[in-house]
């Protein structure tokens, strides 16, 4: 056990911090889940990519730095510490890219990864359907074999930022004789063009964070099949594990939130309920626990270990921690908690309200926490399914 960072890692941190200090917008950008905010976020992503901070852990040929997982964690700590904008590329770089690295052809890698990282081509996820949420395997969208490719038909929903993106990825039933997890194929498909209708859906906080996507006989060439035909479930599972686990929710994010909560408390400690001190300390302790848990996971992964069902524990933990942390903040803000963005009297507090609403999605998306707890109980603890 050696918890010191290496000289190389410290240098990486210093370089990263210096760049972020010089480049992070002084004023927070408008939400990346609105049309005008999205454009500004894309601009920021391009800048990040140019400086090679967009995908530090990717190989250099795709715009990365070949950074280690620990360096990636350092980058994330610095990124959130600096209060840098949310990543509108994240569905691509965190959810799709790991699958492409694992299952993609060389052609796919070359064609897709760099524009994705450079925010030139933007990706949305297309996992859910109206009747296939937690129960992803009940999806109904189909892909029909045609000359040179496939025709996709069906409806996808909860496509994050789908109204603003260029393409999406998801599963379609390619073998209609098979049921549930079988006979599915992983497709990359366009969000613009013939047969595609995208309808934005306002999220709880009022931002156009979601989209419904209707596909009618949309042509997709063979080169946009990811992995084997009819093996889509296996291919997708690699990605959902990333979604729940390490990559999407780095400790840096929650440490930054805990640290903001500490600052908020320092402003209000004279007037707020004394019991909130406990909440603040507990939030800090929870974030620290998450940080060290993740360092343990990364150590194991660096030695060739798999993340596996740990990702379910991870997901339940961070999502519920995030709600509690924001609840503590709202309690501190008191009767001003209802002041939304655009309120002159909101000071910086509206970001907590926004963050709270965002946090409430955590226990729902990427597989509800109910599903995650089933997975933990059955796969980690070995309790019987039935």
């Amino acid at each position: 056990m050696d918890l010191r960072f290496t000289e190389k890692e410290e240098a990486f941190r210093a370089e990263c911090r210096a760049w972020l200090e010089a480049n992070v917008p002084k004023e927070p950008l408008p939400s990346g889940d609105t049309a005008e905010g999205f454009a500004l976020h894309v601009e920021w992503e391009k800048k990040l990519f140019e400086a090679r901070w967009a995908v530090v852990s990717w190989p250099e040929e795709y715009g990365g730095r070949g950074a280690s997982l620990f360096e990636w964690l350092i980058f994330e700590e610095e990124y959130y510490r600096a209060g840098a904008p949310n990543r509108v590329t994240q569905n691509g770089i965190f959810l799709l890219a790991p699958t492409i690295f694992e299952f993609g052809t060389e052609e796919q890698k070359k064609r897709i990864l760099r524009p994705m990282a450079a925010a030139e081509h933007l990706w949305a996820q297309g996992w859910s359907e109206p009747n296939a949420g937690s129960d992803l395997a009940s999806l109904k969208s189909t892909a029909r074999r045609v000359e040179g490719g496939w025709r996709l038909t069906g409806q996808k929903t909860w496509c994050t930022r789908g109204a603003f993106c260029d393409s999406a990825f998801g599963l379609f039933r390619t073998d209609p004789t098979q049921e549930r997890h079988k006979g599915l194929t992983y497709f990359l498909f366009p969000l613009k063009g013939e047969g595609v209708t995208v309808r934005g859906v306002d999220r709880l906080d009022g931002d156009l964070g979601f989209a419904e996507v209707f596909l009618e006989d949309v042509f997709v060439p063979d080169r946009d099949v990811l992995g084997e035909v009819n093996k889509g479930w296996e291919v997708a599972m690699a990605t959902t594990s990333s979604e729940r686990g390490l990559s999407l929710r780095s400790p840096g994010r929650f440490m930054a939130t805990a640290s903001r909560l500490v600052d908020l408390y320092k402003r209000y400690r004279e007037t707020c309920d004394p019991a909130l001190r406990k909440e603040v300390i507990d939030a800090y302790a929870a974030a620290e626990a998450y940080r060290w848990y993740t360092f343990g996971t990364v150590t194991r992964m660096s030695q060739g270990g798999e993340i596996g069902a740990d990702s379910s524990m991870n997901k339940v933990y961070w999502s519920e921690m995030d709600v509690r942390t924001h609840e503590a903040a709202l309690a501190m803000i008191g009767d001003r908690l209802e002041l939304d963005e655009g309120s002159p009297a909101a000071e910086d507090h509206a970001s907590w309200l926004k963050g709270f609403q965002f946090a409430l999605a955590g226990p729902i998306y990427a597989g509800t926490n109910e599903i995650q707890r089933n997975i933990i109980a059955e796969r980690v603890l070995g309790l019987p399914r039935k």
Binding site: E338, Q357, L360, I364, E370
Partner: protein
């Protein structure tokens, strides 16, 4: 000792319930949200005597008290009524009895709306709709007509709540009371508004729970309704328990206010604390059961949920009421 409602009270509840079911549908609430100025049941409620129910008959009211108002206010919450009914019922008896008769009549008739600003509360609700503000500035209690109040408009997370930071002047004020009397009356109005909010919150909770139960019965995943999953069942059972154990405290507080119990404020704080906690809890459970669909503003849930968040902090946050209980029971200064 009898801790239940009379036939008359249940009938009044049913009347209000029917009016709201007809005239305060989710579509109406949503239209207010979207600033479309729909017709709300404010006028109909006034006609039925509901807004002025706590005025005496001489004042043009129904001569009823807070126990009579309890179930109608709960119904208002159930329908997420976007109108200052809590404020009308809380303030009118004081307004009418202390020289504000003209305003009281107009409000009871549904021709005007009243908003409340007591002490150092930072925000006023129904800022755009209000014609008059009942204000207590620490010295006197007065009615300030809308045009004399400077309002810095804000945006509430609940778009049906028009909120503002007010700045009051004395211009055109109708002074209702001063000194100790004003303080006492302001405290009474505050307690009545907190009580009304507690009842309203319990109504919100009932609706949020109902939405979740219906959804859980209908939504099929893994080949069966999600409501047959034990995790969903237990979540909703806990939500029901939170609500059912909040309600009696609100009814008891209503009685304490009605009979001017010396521990009125303690009882109101117990009611408001538990109603706020329950509403936030039920909202969270309901959202989790709905999943992504509940996380959109196309679905109705958020209309109730955001009202719950806002009201849980209005007329005293949970911490405020908890502190007030503490000072009452712990022999603190």
């Amino acid at each position: 000792m009898r801790f239940g409602f009379t036939e008359d009270q249940l009938m009044l509840r049913d009347t209000v319930r029917e009016i709201l079911a007809r005239e305060c549908t989710p579509e109406v609430v949503r239209a207010v949200w979207e600033k479309k100025s729909p017709k709300t049941p404010y006028g109909t409620l006034a006609e039925a005597g509901v807004l002025g129910m706590t005025l005496t008959e001489e004042q043009g009211g129904l001569g009823l008290d807070e126990t009579d108002a309890a179930l109608p206010l709960e119904e208002a919450g159930y329908a997420a009524l976007p109108e200052p009914i809590v404020e009308a019922i809380a303030a009118l008896p004081v307004v009418a009895a202390h020289g504000g008769g003209a305003w009281a009549e107009k409000i009871a008739a549904g021709e005007a709306r009243l908003s409340i600003s007591i002490g150092d509360a930072r925000l006023v609700a129904f800022a755009e709709q209000a014609d008059v503000f009942l204000r207590y500035d620490g010295k006197k209690l007065y009615l300030a007509p809308r045009e004399e109040v400077a309002l810095e408009m804000q945006v509430s997370v609940d778009r049906t709540r028009s909120i503002a930071v007010p700045r009051f002047t004395d211009e055109g004020a109708t002074v209702l009371a001063e000194g100790a009397e004003a303080a006492e009356l302001a405290a009474l109005v505050f307690d009545r508004a907190a009580l009304g909010s507690a009842l309203f919150l319990n109504g919100l909770s009932r609706k949020m729970l109902e939405l979740a139960v219906e959804y859980a019965k209908d939504r099929v995943q893994f080949g069966r309704p999600i409501g047959s999953q034990q995790a969903v069942k237990h979540r909703l059972a806990d939500a029901l328990i939170a609500l059912e154990f909040a309600k009696p405290l609100a009814y008891r507080a209503a009685w304490s206010v009605a009979v001017a119990d010396p521990e009125r404020s303690l009882h109101v704080s117990l009611a408001k604390l538990r109603a706020s906690e329950a509403a936030r809890f039920v909202a969270k459970q309901s959202l989790q059961v709905h999943g992504a669909i509940g996380y959109t503003i196309e679905h109705d849930l958020h209309l109730w949920m955001k009202r719950a968040w806002a009201l849980a902090a209005a007329y005293g946050t949970e911490d405020f009421h908890r502190d007030r209980i503490g000072r009452a029971i712990l022999n603190e200064a």
